[in-house]
Amino acid sequence: MKVVDAIQKLEELRGCKVLSASNMQDVEQLYKEVLDKEFVKTSCRDCYNDAIIEMMLYIKKYEKMKEKCNYALKNGVLLQLKFGSDEFYTNANLTDEVARKYLTDHPDDANLFSKIPEDHYAPNPKTRMAEQVKPSEEIITEEKQ
């Protein structure tokens, strides 16, 4: 689904005075599409309208839908790429790029993640090839002499 379609659908739903059962189903599906998380029903009857507002605010703020992330953090974990940085990441804003960078810098912190894709630990064929082609320092020194 494109972001334009999501906005259009959200505006339609926002215009409904009373949400029908099918509208509610649409909200649940959109919630997964836009925010990449499952919709949780609560006892509060406004939870569907709240979800619509939450999705609209997210799209308004980031001008896109949340990127699907292949990594997930355990609940109670917050990542900061630099110590004391105002920039921090939870599952709400985690991206593959951020997770990869963090795990590269802090390989011992893998236990903070609940989901790490299998290919994260697979050796990168390009890097491996580059390592094979790159001449060793000894060879370079010998050539200079």
């Binding site: 998380k37 109670g76 974990v77 939870t90 236990n111």
Partner: protein, 202 residues
Amino acid sequence: MALCDDLIKRDVVPSCSDPVIEGLEQEGVIMNRADVDFAATVFNTTRKNVVETLALKKGKKGFKVVVPGKTPFTGTATTMAAGTYRNTFTNTVSIVILANDPDVCQDVIDGLANGTYVLVLENKYKGMQRETTPGDAAFQIYGFYQGCTATAIENNKYSEDTVGGWMVTLEEAKSPKSAVFLFKTSYEATKALVGTLTSPAL
């Protein structure tokens, strides 16, 4: 084995610029103690009563506990308990559940009666004016060492306080520390961290 230095390390004076205030905020988090991933829990490297990461096990989440009113969680306190060789602390947390229906009784009250829990509550006093680490006094963990278990649960049909709901008292006895705080570099970051405790688990 290192010796514990049971010494005070600073002046015992009130803060004039950031005076302590009583009370707790209305919203906290309760977790099954078995769901806490202690292996992934991170303490501050120098301040050993500050937890920086309170992770839950994969697929597990905590639950919000909201107590309305001007004095939520009334009865929550920490007291010293004298021991033969070492004194410890007893934490008491009081929760009012303004509901009484089959779901609440089955999913909450029956569980509270026999389970062991860890709670995170937010103090009204947050220490935001502190020169270093402002906001580090905001969130406090109860039940980290021994877990909180129920010592009293009551449903008084004519209670004016609980208006027919439930009053639950949880207690953690023999905690070796007077308090354990949850703090990750700033108040905002810690607030976000606490928010993740109750998010749907991925």
